[in-house]
Assembly symmetry: D3
Homo-oligomer: 137 residues x 6
Amino acid sequence: MIYLTRRERFNAAHRMYREDWDDRRNMDFYGKCSNPNWHGHNYELFVTVKGEPDPETGILINLKEVSTIIRERITVKLDHKNINLEVPFMKGKIASTENLVRAIWKELDPDFSALGIHLHAVKIKESENNFIEYFGE
Amino acid sequence: MIYLTRRERFNAAHRMYREDWDDRRNMDFYGKCSNPNWHGHNYELFVTVKGEPDPETGILINLKEVSTIIRERITVKLDHKNINLEVPFMKGKIASTENLVRAIWKELDPDFSALGIHLHAVKIKESENNFIEYFGE
Amino acid sequence: MIYLTRRERFNAAHRMYREDWDDRRNMDFYGKCSNPNWHGHNYELFVTVKGEPDPETGILINLKEVSTIIRERITVKLDHKNINLEVPFMKGKIASTENLVRAIWKELDPDFSALGIHLHAVKIKESENNFIEYFGE
Amino acid sequence: MIYLTRRERFNAAHRMYREDWDDRRNMDFYGKCSNPNWHGHNYELFVTVKGEPDPETGILINLKEVSTIIRERITVKLDHKNINLEVPFMKGKIASTENLVRAIWKELDPDFSALGIHLHAVKIKESENNFIEYFGE
Amino acid sequence: MIYLTRRERFNAAHRMYREDWDDRRNMDFYGKCSNPNWHGHNYELFVTVKGEPDPETGILINLKEVSTIIRERITVKLDHKNINLEVPFMKGKIASTENLVRAIWKELDPDFSALGIHLHAVKIKESENNFIEYFGE
Amino acid sequence: MIYLTRRERFNAAHRMYREDWDDRRNMDFYGKCSNPNWHGHNYELFVTVKGEPDPETGILINLKEVSTIIRERITVKLDHKNINLEVPFMKGKIASTENLVRAIWKELDPDFSALGIHLHAVKIKESENNFIEYFGE
């Protein structure tokens, strides 16, 4: 079993808040991350897939194919966007990194499954000091 | 002459646009950076000062002092903010990194001059692939 | 289950040695890491916690809370200190990174447990080429 | 149980191809990585071993010993070499990173076993965007 | 005056040697970098341009335009190539980084001049420990 | 004119203090960096030399030669040492990075001059947030 990880990047704006809380309550709970005028990040997304390499070709999956899936399904919808307002798979969800990794998993899983590859991990590095990982359960 | 550089960081939202251009013209010129719903970055700010170290203490300036000046004058006003809407020293300016380094220079220069230290460079790294530097003229 | 990792940093001096061995035997076994005049590192500490995010708030735990726990319990006691001489939770222990990750686990575990969060991993990067991880057992 | 990771580096040339396919078919399948004139990388190799630290010495294994094993068994044979043409443990194999991590595991495992240490992971970072891991099964 | 730097990357094979020296003399002088079977690197290319930002748009030059020039003129010709055998602007030259930065300068200078922008520096990072810079004279 | 930079690393302990000040005054001025029990860093040293590459060989100077000079003159004397107590070229000097870059310049300059190469810069990165540069005057 081989684990292959691909990094892709996107820059986005977001705000941590619940619509049914007023700004004050949101600021009390989420702190400066709840600024109503938004803030943003350079997000790094790490997608790990696993499986047995094909003995004939020596590879698990073409890296370009992995990159294309991640870009088409995920980063083109996030890059230079507002995560709260514009990202289809985040509609109705709080724009936390915790929710983001799970939403990305759900988007990517069918495509990799269709290729006979198992999605193993989705990791997002929001800053050099913070990252979140999800392993599908 | 010794050159001392301090890195500080801030996360912010911004949008590239001119108010007197409509969204379409802004998008045509600035591309996805002009998204009306904003996007954002993890900005890295590098401030370089220069001077002769004090022979008695062996140092040019206390690093904590440099950090405090940059935080109070600059990063507290930028971190988790919207550069277009909320940053006093960027009011009325296009939120480009080119304008940001020059505005930061103008904010920092008097404080370092008052300490007998010369500001040498202000550099902002907007992403791992792009950075802008300004040397005061 | 979501895994959240926070990085904190500290600079410290240490020396690898057993008190009941003389300097020569220590140097023979530990090499230059046993220099009686000490040496030091910029240590990077990565603490990973895991759990189910709160559906109401979308987050596992406030990052600021994680950072505060790590700083108060760990890094304030290690930063700019001598690990052999000054760190309460390392008293009587050889100042190896192997012992450090286990001691840090023991310090942090009760605080996270009290919050209903599981400590998953403690990792210390001693240099760009070496790191040590501990998963609690 | 403690996990210790050592990073070593090597620069090498390689080409993705099957000898029994012509250049065109290789290029169709492997893309630019199959350039018959070779290309190359700065590879980063991360080797993770695990075990119980010796209570007397406080360490799992001397880092210098780990480094020496990796250098003698692996990197001296890969550094500034052509992976397809010159590396004994890659003879007859497609020069993929998937094959490389498994071959390196096979080379390193006996040496660490002989020391009573378990090899846990072999990871190769081929670029800042791609890495491959193998855990021995 | 604003300095803008763009990073682009390419992976390539090369060999340090003079055609009129035999392999032995080349190996004696260039060491393992002269391996006749090639080796390779992940090269990082940093291109710095300078000028006065346009007061109307707030920017010096569109980053996408900078990236396009570098990719079309330089990296598409170097990426996944053999620097000695396949790169038009390195024909007849020793494949040193010293020669590479100067050749890249010569390729890029006319394009930036045509845009009224001054090329300031070409820097190549061959590994995390080595880089070469050229400022045009 | 080509600028070539080589990075070397060392780990060391140090303490900021003047012998003729008591601990209290030292702590007041230098803060936690004056801890009498020492602290330490992973220092990164960047040495930049400049000159005209030899047209016959295409290189400015062999990188291995640069590395050897830096290691023999500098890092072997600093690595895993106490900068205040054990480093010949820092005897009688306050162990500041400002003093360190100037002392390193003085050590390296004759060796590079003897090779007809100009020393251009000595830079020390003490942490990811702080670095000091010296250009010889």
